[in-house]
Symmetry: C2
Subunit: 199 residues, 2 copies
């Protein structure tokens, strides 16, 4: 068969990412992914030995992108700790805004059993640890309100992923998952964090 513009493997990965994110790994069959790509199921199984392997590959992609984007923000130099926190928050939102399915996949990663859940954890862990160390450092310097830095990180993480993964649920409060709505919420989170962490 003639090679189409995008290699088949990549197109399968793309379609799987969107479908898995939208409706969950369990609810999407290989047949459906194949149909989306315009190919037969067996072709999917040619590129990925099993569904598990395809799922793994998709989650790997997601974890990698998240880590790259957030890592860049964490490393960004700024003297003001609140400014740095703000940048990380922005970074966390970015992949989700660009590709809505990302949200669903993060949720899936936490729902799936065993090694697939570990994937995100193992990738994100070093980042979170670095954040915690940084919080501790700034608290010691008296530039952030003293608190349990691990719990602060957990809270911030939960808040951001909550916004990211449940944008529909937030409609309850009249919030709209648009770019403008996202900016408002992000800014509110910023001043919230500012009020909460200012010594």
């Amino acid at each position: 068969m003639p090679q189409r513009e995008t290699p088949t493997r990549q197109r399968i990965l793309d379609a799987a990412l969107d479908l898995f994110g939208a409706r969950g790994v369990d609810a999407v069959s290989l047949d459906e992914i194949a149909r989306e790509v315009g190919v037969r199921k067996q072709t999917v199984l040619y590129w990925f030995a099993s569904k598990d392997e395809l799922v793994d590959a998709v989650l790997e992609t997601v974890a990698a992108e998240l880590v790259v984007v957030i890592d860049a923000a964490v490393r960004s130099a700024s003297d003001d700790p609140l400014e740095r926190i703000d940048r990380v928050v922005r970074a966390v939102f970015r992949p989700a805004v660009r590709r809505p399915a990302m949200l669903g996949l993060v949720r899936e990663m936490n729902r799936l059993p065993g090694p697939q859940a570990d994937r995100l954890r193992l990738n994100v862990q070093p980042l979170v640890e670095r954040c915690v160390e940084y919080f501790q450092l700034e608290m010691d310097k008296g530039r952030l309100r003293r608190a349990d830095p691990g719990l602060i990180a957990a809270l911030a993480y939960a808040t951001v992923t909550g916004i990211a993964t449940e944008p529909e649920a937030l409609r309850s409060v009249g919030w709209q998952p648009t770019a403008v709505g996202l900016r408002h919420l992000r800014d509110e989170l910023r001043s919230f964090l500012r009020a909460a962490l200012t010594p």
Copy 2:
């Protein structure tokens, strides 16, 4: 057959709640639920006409319990607005602390398509609206820091659903999704809110 101590229907509902919460609605079969209860699949289908109906019944239970508990806290009389917020936060966490599967079910409610997702939204919406009105009132009185009350509610909501959605991910910071872990996180959230909302 002799009636056992707990009516079969209730025992099915119980087992389904725990299993659905732990591993997701799609990944749990009727056979597995039946096995857990010590009964045949057909008995499950006798009490619930279809799997969908069982899922609905479970989600209904969850939504109802959440609403009852939170509603009681929202209505609770206390003059200090921060104290009232405290109580609501405790109330939101209570079902999850008592029954860890609740977290997973909140996640499922946001993941499932159509009417099943709406169930949570429709039940929770009036509560959130009441909270928003209350925030506005207290801000007008100058007893809470002035902010967009809708966004504050959205933030708090996102935080809680984030915890619900990502309890495993929070292990990254050494946090455990146990009753003790939930209590710690809840207390941190309370002092967080206190710092952020004190005028």
